[in-house]
């Protein structure tokens, strides 16, 4: 038996290459992780991080290169083999069955017969040892996103992994929950577990990780010790150029009210959704209002009520530009000057198999693209080309299919399409979610410019830094209801993070705390 010594890397990969028909995802990647090391893999979307992790976890097979596990060459051909070696992975999108309990979900991933009572005890052991409180008997649909992530982590830990891979783990957590997760990870590292931490959040990597490998365009562009770098130097490694700073401008005040929500309550049809309770909100022209909160607290339901995708029973609760719109469908609300950038880009904000020109028609058809029921494709195409040029959308032209674009470029296209319609009210959901740093700052600047030209803007985001960067006022959503608003300069991340648990002054008793991470 080969016994690794402390100077044998836990994992060393050499010259990994993976070519897809459309792109080179990984090109000669080298990476070394020592026992007990928290190692960041940093890169923009499309840099090849996910592909690399899937290679390590045995989901995909590299075209070239080798993997050394504790000094020995291994061919990892499937995830079961990876788990047998001692590799665990927590994916960004969880793979849990909502209608089963925690222990049932965990049991599904463990081979062989086992009895649930013993397994429950083991889950409780692991959860108390690593500060991951979760009740094994609860149904998953009743858990918050943070708790679900704990289930995923516990599921990995039960297999006693020696390498834990985490893919963007903090994107769904409150600041307080992030801190708890970091404590757990540090404890694991102290016990000798190696951790591969995938992220694009530079401050977190600086706080947590011992070393970082930076990827760009499928290649390693550098390795560094994050504590000796600044976010600016790491960003430069990641995107190749310096980040432009957003210029904010003075907050406007006293513009006309473009969106007025008064006492909105709405029971959702989704059994796992959140009911909206007594929501009050005003957005005026020339201001950006942000809604912070952990996802699953009613944001989806509120957005569908505002956009008209789920019209209300009564027309009074929502007014747009002075018109009561509660019962109107999205097309009629758009006619009043509302534009909306949804969270899901492919399949909601854009039709995957249609060209960009055809996707322009989806919402911008009012801009002179119709003539007695027929489509004026020339006008739509010019609009698409203008959008591609102004918003720097990287694509093969207006005739490319939407699904051929990367997530960030498609988002720039959708944001561009909505902004170019000169909206009176623009609603954005997770505008930069999964979008790379360069494109994010471009989108934020475009939104700020629009606000300065007098548009009323509502942003719903899980990224607190983003809200603090662009918003004039912030409200918090928790358990289907909204907090009072705070002027951004008069609050801080601590206070908003606290409110995200539903604990703002004057909030109701914290019943049904299930949605709080």
């Amino acid at each position: 038996m080969h016994t690794p010594t402390s100077d044998t890397p836990r994992l060393a990969i050499r010259g990994i290459r993976k070519v897809y028909p459309s792109a080179i995802a990984n090109d000669g990647i080298n990476l070394t992780v020592m026992p007990g090391e928290i190692h960041a893999v940093l890169g923009e979307n499309g840099a090849g991080k996910s592909t690399l992790m899937k290679v390590i976890y045995g989901v995909i097979r590299p075209d070239a290169g080798e993997i050394l596990w504790e000094g020995r060459r291994e061919t990892i051909s499937n995830p079961a083999q990876a788990r047998a070696l001692g590799i665990g992975m927590v994916f960004q999108h969880f793979s849990l069955f909502e209608t089963l309990t925690v222990v049932q979900n965990v049991a599904l991933s463990i081979p062989g017969r086992l009895d649930l009572a013993t397994l429950s005890r083991r889950i409780e052991e692991v959860s108390s040892r690593y500060g991951l409180p979760v009740d094994p008997r609860r149904l998953v649909h009743a858990l918050s996103v943070g708790e679900r992530q704990r289930v995923e982590i516990i599921r990995c830990l039960l297999q006693n992994p020696r390498l834990l891979i985490l893919d963007e783990p903090t994107s769904v957590l409150t600041p307080q929950a992030v801190r708890k997760l970091f404590e757990t990870l540090r404890q694991l590292a102290a016990e000798g577990v190696s951790i591969l931490y995938i992220s694009h959040k530079l401050d977190e990597i600086q706080e947590l990780c011992h070393r970082a490998t930076v990827l760009r365009g499928g290649k390693v562009t550098g390795t560094c010790i994050p504590s000796r770098e600044t976010p600016q130097t790491m960003a430069r490694m990641m995107i190749g150029v310096d980040l432009p700073a957003c210029c904010h401008g003075e907050p406007g005040d006293g513009g006309e009210v473009r969106l007025h929500i008064e006492g909105l309550s709405h029971a959702t049809e989704d059994p796992f959704g959140t009911d909206l309770r007594d929501i009050h909100l005003q957005v005026r022209s020339g201001e950006i209002v942000g809604i912070a909160g952990v996802s699953g607290n009613g944001q989806q339901e509120l957005l569908r009520a505002i956009s008209g995708e789920e019209p209300l029973a009564g027309k009074h609760a929502i007014q747009m530009c002075g018109v009561q719109v509660g019962r109107m469908n999205p097309a009629r609300r758009r006619a009043l000057g509302m534009c909306f950038v949804p969270e899901e880009r492919l399949g909601r904000g854009a039709v995957p198999r249609l060209t960009l020109t055809e996707n322009i028609l989806l919402t911008a058809y009012r801009k002179g693209m119709l003539f007695s029921g027929l489509i004026r494709f020339g006008v739509a195409k010019r609009f698409a080309e203008e959008c591609i040029r102004r918003f720097d959308v990287k694509c093969g032209g207006a005739n490319s299919e939407a699904k051929s674009l990367s997530g960030g470029n498609l988002q720039k296209f959708i944001v561009g399409r909505e902004i170019m319609q000169d909206p009176k009210l623009l609603v954005l959901a997770q505008p930069t979610w999964g979008v790379d740093v360069g494109a994010s700052s471009f989108i934020r600047q475009s939104v700020l410019d629009l606000r300065n030209s007098g548009t009323a803007i509502l942003v719903i985001s899980e990224e607190l830094e983003e809200l603090f960067e662009i918003c004039d006022r912030i409200v918090v959503m928790a358990k289907g209801t909204l907090s009072p608003s705070k002027v951004t300069s008069e609050t801080d991340v601590e206070e908003i993070g606290m409110w995200m648990s539903g604990l703002w002054p004057g909030a109701g008793a914290p019943e049904g705390a299930g949605h709080v991470a």
Partner: protein, 355 residues
Amino acid sequence: MWLKFEPRAEPSRAMAYLSPLLAVGLMFLCGMILFYILGKNPVEGFRVFFMNPVKDAYGVAELFLKATPLMLCAVGLSMGFKANVWNIGAEGQLLIGALAGGGLALHFEGSPSPFLLPAMILAGALGGMAWAAIPAFLRTRFNANEILTSLMLVYVAELMVSWVVHGPWKDPDGFNFPQTRLFGAEATLPILLEGTRVNAALIFALGALVAGWIFMNRSFMGYQMKVAGQAEHAGRYAGFSAKRSVWIGMLAGGAMAGIAGISEVAGPIGQITEHISPGYGFAAMIVAFVGRLNPIGIFFSSLLMALLYLGGEQAQQYLNLPSSISKVFQGMLLFFLLGSDVFIHFRPRLVRRRK
């Protein structure tokens, strides 16, 4: 060595158009093998089945006659199929169209009015639409699957036809045969070419192809239906009505099938009988998919399907095979088309077996 299917990065456009041709080729090939197994000379069989029917002008005219109801049904159905509206009851809508229009012809028997024929066509379209409206209503109101309801209504329609020709509308001078009186000249579609049976319905069919092409490729409503069919959430996000897509998809299919039905009884048949359609409404689904839901493709695929019908009759006459051989060919065509369509999204590759 073994064959592996790799997903393509982009669906292959070339393959989308080649696939129907490949399917036709495979159908020819397997058809000849089938002839051989049945003890016929395969080359002779091919000649009788696929070339005999169109060896003279009359044969070509018959080809267009048979293709007419197929074009009508297929173009109507493809409008719905593009929007994910699965009307598979065109056969029933065709029959009800024939009953509605034919009923008018019987009621105004002997009327010299020049409006009788246009009224019959209109009644045929409305009859087909009414029959299609039932599944549309059930789908939009109760979310009932239109595949099931539209199919079941085919059998109801067949029984209704059977009832009227055995009962109330039976020709009193018809020696008790289950059929109505023959329609008068004013209630019969004019022949386009002297000496053939090709009638004005072909003009309706070609017009429907052009209108269908404009609707699907140039109209905003057709665009909305395409969006609703491909990405339901995007349709809702944009504010397009999903219910309206279902209604238009179903009613377009019903109207076209109804016109096909009245064109048969007011055309080559000349009366209502129990055998109005040899399964045109079902074959039209194959026609629509072989034609890639595109009116230009449907034009050619309906001619091919018509050839299968004629070939079946020839095979019965000259090869001593049952005429249902054309159903076998239809089945093979659909089977090979579905098989070939795999290549649109996957590319075959020979790989060495590992270990």
